[in-house]
């Protein structure tokens, strides 16, 4: 009997029946599942992976070409061995500077303040994923990772202030709303992480919680969300809800 209840039929040659029985043995083998560690780390990595989805430019001017050039630079970096090392690096690693340089290129390519804010939120997502990874795999790097995260969050806060100082538009409000929603998601994770962080990393994470709380409070400055929200953007946090 197979696991789903089917039976080996009585027809066919002896050899065929033997082969069918062997097939059943394979099907009935206890199959492994992905470990919880792989599940969590891979999910965090996927949610924060710096993937650039193609967006059709409105015109073929310099501003339209900048994201393409930036993506090409990032691709070149990502395809190289150094790029691979940088992509998996944590704060404090030599290759981490390369990752930050690639992120600077992303930032420079952002066409406006709203896009810059989205990019910075994505960077903060990455720093949080790295902090989670550091706690699990390299606790000695947790302090550096918490400082890197704090720095990223401060950049988000500054960018959000600039965005909110501009006149309200759908693009501005969507970007700001995404940032405040991300902060809420991050705060949930930070409160869980602070229980596991080493002593040395506590000040950084406490300050980050304060800054993220400020970011989240700025949602009060936003108009109510539209009934038909814009399509979700590919910059979700590691466990954005």
């Amino acid at each position: 009997m197979t696991p789903n209840g089917s039976r080996v039929p009585s027809g066919g040659s002896v050899e065929e029946r033997e082969l069918l029985a062997l097939g059943e043995r394979i099907a009935a083998t206890p199959h492994p599942s992905a470990s919880p560690a792989l599940r969590a780390q891979l999910r965090a990595s996927l949610m924060s992976a710096p993937v650039q989805f193609a967006v059709a430019p409105r015109r073929w001017g310099w501003s339209a070409l900048r994201p393409i050039l930036a993506a090409a630079v990032i691709l070149v970096v990502a395809l190289g061995g150094a790029g691979y090392a940088a992509a998996s690096s944590l704060a404090g690693d030599p290759a981490f500077a390369l990752k930050q340089a690639a992120e600077e290129v992303e930032l420079v390519s952002a066409p406006n303040e709203a896009a810059r804010l989205r990019t910075l939120v994505a960077h903060s997502d990455r720093r949080l994923a790295e902090l989670q990874k550091a706690i699990v795999t390299r606790p000695a790097s947790a302090n550096a990772a918490s400082q890197a995260y704090l720095s990223a969050v401060k950049h988000v806060d500054d960018a959000l202030k600039r965005v909110l100082s501009q006149p309200s538009t759908d693009a501005r409000d969507d970007a700001a709303r995404e940032a405040t929603e991300a902060s809420e998601s991050h705060l949930d994770m930070l409160r869980e992480l602070e229980q596991r962080l080493p002593e040395a990393a506590q000040p950084g994470i406490q300050r980050a919680i304060e800054v993220q709380t400020d970011v989240h409070r700025r949602s009060d400055e936003l108009p109510p969300a539209r009934r038909t929200p814009a399509p979700p953007k590919p910059t979700a946090s590691p466990s954005r809800r």
């Binding site: 197979t2 696991p3 789903n4 089917s6 039976r7 080996v8 039929p9 027809g11 066919g12 065929e16 033997e18 082969l19 069918l20 062997l22 097939g23 059943e24 043995r25 394979i26 099907a27 009935a28 083998t29 206890p30 199959h31 492994p32 599942s33 992905a34 470990s35 792989l38 599940r39 891979l42 999910r43 990595s45 996927l46 949610m47 992976a49 993937v51 989805f53 193609a54 399509p231 979700p232 953007k233 590919p234 910059t235 979700a236 954005r240």
Partner: protein, 193 residues
């Protein structure tokens, strides 16, 4: 070869999951860049991909690496995903390519003795039962087959795909898949006898 068995046409352990009616919508959103939709697809299919990788590579660490690479490649490829194609078949195709790429750097198959003696597949505390020993032995035997035979056996009997689906993934027609499957089972029987 004629297959008189339901098992050979639709084997046990089919990997379909509940909620397939939502999958096309999730794929559509993920293709548009919705990372949360992609995460939902990831949660739904992680074990399927991991299982395929586990039986196609020699140790669990490599299975982790392959699984990770598959989902990262899928994420990048989502804008080009063809919605009419089952998402899991899309993942299996990527997984197969990842393993083929990795195989260029290392020996694609192992001797049965080597595979079964490999430290990374020694039974852990949870693998002490007779059933687990048999599972380990079967896995070692599967890994001595040539790569296409491994694909067919794993996709048919572990992933539970139909001949047609397996054919689409490995790039062969159904009758060829049936032939490969039967030859692979004959080889496996020899290894296990």
């Amino acid at each position: 070869m004629t297959e008189p068995s339901n098992l050979l046409n639709e084997p046990a352990g089919r990997a379909d999951t509940p909620g397939d009616e939502d999958e096309s919508e999730l794929c559509r959103r993920a293709s548009a860049g919705d990372r949360r939709a992609f995460a939902a697809l990831y949660e739904r299919h992680l074990d399927h991909v991991y299982r395929y990788a586990y039986y196609r590579v020699r140790d669990p660490d490599s299975a982790d690496d392959v699984t990770s690479e598959v989902f990262h490649r899928a994420l990048v490829a989502m804008p080009r995903y063809e919605p009419r194609r089952p998402f899991l078949a899309f993942l299996y195709t990527i997984a197969r390519n990842v393993i083929v790429d990795a195989g260029r750097k290392q020996r694609p198959t192992a001797s049965f003795e080597d595979a079964i003696a490999h430290p990374s597949i020694e039974p852990g505390p949870e693998e002490r039962s007779t059933a687990r020993d048999e599972a380990r032995r079967l896995r070692a035997a599967i890994q001595t087959l040539d790569p296409v035979q491994q694909d067919v056996i794993v996709l048919r009997f572990i992933a539970g795909r139909s001949h047609k689906e397996v054919g689409a993934i490995v790039g062969k027609n159904e009758s060829t898949v049936r032939g490969i499957q039967m030859r692979a089972l004959v080889e496996l029987r020899k290894r296990l006898s």
